[in-house]
């Protein structure tokens, strides 16, 4: 018993077996060993299976020539490029849809979220209908719908809808003119950069002036004037050293110009409409989370509705909106892997699909593909943590 001992500095040690620390340690060791054994078991099975079945291993295949073409590639690519490059092409295509999807989903989502709260009954019900329809239908189905039911009902290239012989819309996609720069274009390029710099400093100056004198300066028009005017003047004064490469029907297809293929179009459309429905809900609840008292207090101070939104409501709503918003972005990126269903050459389609099939190296390729998505989500969650820490309201 304890009272036999004189006063001790530290509390007595517990018996080993019922010491929670010891138990936790033992439990953790057992758990770790189990997991490690399980992983070992799997890895060993895989290795022996692969060896006994004569499946080649390693990442050497990345240097071999692929031998197949890809519909859309943001970097130089042809049949003689390596599988490594195929991976890059797929990755870039994935990033392209994701970025476009995020962009449009954000815009549509915010608009719909705000309309959902409109005091106009009809508008708010329309927005609600949009949200309820699109978020309750599987994305894959929506992708099919946009691709098959809409995209395939467009006319063929020979009957393409056109705007002034420079824009063509057909079931081969949307073709728009591509700019081709000539040697003298340098000056215009510099002018564009210069005007961007000018606009930035103008905005800064305007903000400073506002803080100093309280006078608002409407930078929008001035900026537009600078952005368009200066380069235009330079452009024409140097003799318009650029021409447009117009798409034109040649043989079976349009040649020249920039093509937006229907696969990309349908995918971005489906992804952004689907995700926007979720974003709209996020935005709505974010705005509603700002208490009505805030708006009232701001109006009682005489602030106009637009400013109330900008200075009081949105900054507070954003704290609530951003975290779920980023996870929507992540979902969108992951969902872009459904591209394969309609033949858009994203990472899963060209790398985890065709490449895997040509090389048969499933383990390596699936591992690489999964890591790409994991890295993406890691980046997003790092951003989230940073943002949450930065934005946390200071409390007592």
């Amino acid at each position: 018993m304890a009272d036999a001992s004189p006063e001790r500095e530290t509390p007595a040690k517990p018996r080993l077996l019922s010491d929670p620390k010891f138990r936790a340690l033992v439990f953790q060791i057992i758990a770790s060993i189990t997991v490690a054994a399980f992983i070992f078991f799997i890895v060993r099975n895989t290795l022996t299976n692969m060896e006994s079945r004569g499946i080649s291993t390693g990442f050497g295949f990345l240097d071999r020539a692929s031998g197949f073409g890809i519909l859309q590639s943001l970097i130089e690519y042809n049949e003689t490029s390596t599988y490594g490059r195929t991976f890059l092409v797929g990755l870039l295509n994935t990033i392209l849809v994701s970025v476009l999807g995020v962009f449009f989903a954000t815009i549509i989502g915010f608009i719909m979220g705000v309309l959902r709260l409109s005091s106009n009954w009809l508008i708010s019900k329309l927005a609600a209908t949009y949200i309820e329809i699109f978020r309750n239908i599987p994305l894959l189905l929506q992708i099919f719908f946009w691709y098959y039911a809409i995209g395939f009902n467009l006319p063929g290239p020979r009957q393409a809808m056109s705007v002034g012989d420079s824009l063509f819309l057909s079931n081969r996609g949307l073709y728009i003119p591509a700019p081709v720069f000539e040697s003298g274009f340098m000056a215009t390029g510099l002018a564009i950069i210069a005007s961007i710099v000018a606009v930035i400093s103008l905005v800064r100056w305007a903000r400073k002036r506002f803080e100093a004198t309280g006078q608002l300066f409407h930078t929008v028009y001035a900026s537009l004037a600078i952005l368009i005017g200066v380069p235009a003047v330079v452009f024409f004064s140097t003799g318009a050293p650029m021409h447009l490469d117009y798409p034109a029907l040649q043989g079976f297809n349009f040649q020249g110009g920039v093509a937006i293929i229907p696969e990309l179009f349908a995918l971005v459309l489906a992804l952004s409409i689907y995700t926007a429905a979720f974003i709209a809900e996020t935005v709505r609840s974010g705005i509603q989370a700002v208490s009505h008292g805030q708006t009232e207090a701001a109006s009682a101070l005489g602030l106009r509705p637009g400013w109330i939104l900008r200075l009081v409501v949105i900054p507070q709503a954003m704290r609530v909106i951003i975290p779920p918003l980023t996870s929507q972005y992540l979902n969108l990126t992951k969902n872009s892997s459904l591209a394969a269903a309609i033949g858009y050459p994203d990472l899963v389609a060209v790398f985890a699909g065709t490449t895997l099939n040509q090389t048969g190296q499933a383990v390596e390729i699936i591992a690489i593909t999964m890591s790409v998505y994991l890295v993406l989500s890691l980046i997003i969650s790092i951003f989230m943590n940073w943002y949450n820490a930065k934005m946390a309201l200071r409390e007592r």
Binding site: G54, N253, A349
Partner: protein, 316 residues
């Protein structure tokens, strides 16, 4: 070997087929699988169990098929798969034979008014992912210094749908498939198959490396069918043929000479194949030939002594 024993033990053959390619492997209204590839599995089941119905099917798209076979999910893959060097050597697979000699061709809409593939520069091509077709196409256009845009789909259904909708100017695939896919069009006569054949596509059942017993069974199930045709044994007359005096026929039907035990199966293995699945010619006609909607002529797939190249080593 391991696969052989495993199949024997579980009592059925797990067969990897395509997700739907009329004449090769497709389900009918009632969900029963039909086609040449399906029959390859049925023949093996007939040889092994004396019952051609002891087969279970796993529909696979082109992308999944090798992984599925490698991983052991299926026992054999007769899914019109082209025999190539890489596949045979680096994927850990063995091709057991050729049940269909094919070559890649093109299908275009008649409206386009082209007569030859050489006129197709700049065309958009619908194609199925993960096939040799993808590679041949690239080679062909590169060799002829032509441009193309490949739109790659996961399954042949989508390829046809896109072709029909005009998303691409032509569809490329093995000739046999082109005929099969053509009948999936709303109006099969609106499209035509161009004469060019740009590649050799020997199609045949595939097994995993490392089980020669199983490999032999699959290979000789096919050979038995070809030999049966050569010897004139058919589904109908097989019982009569049992009484035949022709030593070749008697050997094929396991009455004398060779023993089924060399393959690890019953002596009447070949009899069962012919009785339940038919000889090669019957199988061909029923699934893809005149007796089917595809109406493909025997061509290269005729027997070697009838102007084709189907040739099987003798059973002796």
């Amino acid at each position: 070997g391991a696969t052989f024993d495993a199949v024997k033990k579980k009592g059925y053959v797990q067969c990897g087929v395509s997700t739907g390619l009329p004449g090769f492997s497709a389900t009918d209204d009632k969900g029963n699988w039909k086609g040449i590839d399906v029959d390859a599995c049925r023949a093996v089941a007939a040889a092994m169990f004396g019952d051609a119905s002891k087969v279970k099917y796993t529909p696979l798209n082109a992308k999944e098929r090798f992984t599925a076979l490698q991983s052991g999910e299926i026992d054999m893959l007769p899914r019109n798969t082209t025999w190539t060097f890489t596949r045979d050597t680096s994927l850990g697979l063995n091709f057991a034979g050729v049940n269909y000699y094919d070559g890649q061709g093109f299908m275009v809409s008649k409206k386009l008014g082209v007569k030859s593939a050489k006129e197709l520069s700049g065309a958009s091509v619908c194609i199925q992912a993960g096939t040799t077709t993808e590679l041949n196409l690239a080679d062909y256009f590169r060799a002829n210094k032509m441009e193309y845009k490949a739109i790659t789909y996961d399954s042949s259904d989508e390829t046809v749908k896109a072709f029909e909708a005009g998303r691409c100017d032509m569809l490329t695939s093995d000739q046999s498939q082109l005929y099969a896919l053509r009948i999936k069009l709303t109006d099969p006569n609106s499209a035509m198959v161009l004469p060019e054949v740009i590649s050799k596509e020997p199609l045949g059942p595939v097994v995993r490396q490392g089980d020669d017993e199983w490999f032999n069974l699959v290979r000789w199930s096919l050979f038995a069918q070809i030999n049966a045709e050569e010897a004139g044994i058919t589904m109908k007359n097989v019982d009569d043929m049992m009484k035949s005096a022709d030593p070749n026929i008697r050997r094929i039907l396991g009455i004398e000479g060779v023993k089924g035990e060399f393959l690890g199966v019953d002596d009447k293995w070949a009899y069962n194949i012919v009785k339940q699945v038919g000889n090669y010619g019957e199988m061909f006609e029923r699934n893809v030939g005149e007796g089917s909607a595809l109406k493909i002529s025997r061509g290269q797939n005729a027997l070697w002594n009838k102007g084709g190249i189907q040739y099987a080593p003798p059973i002796r």
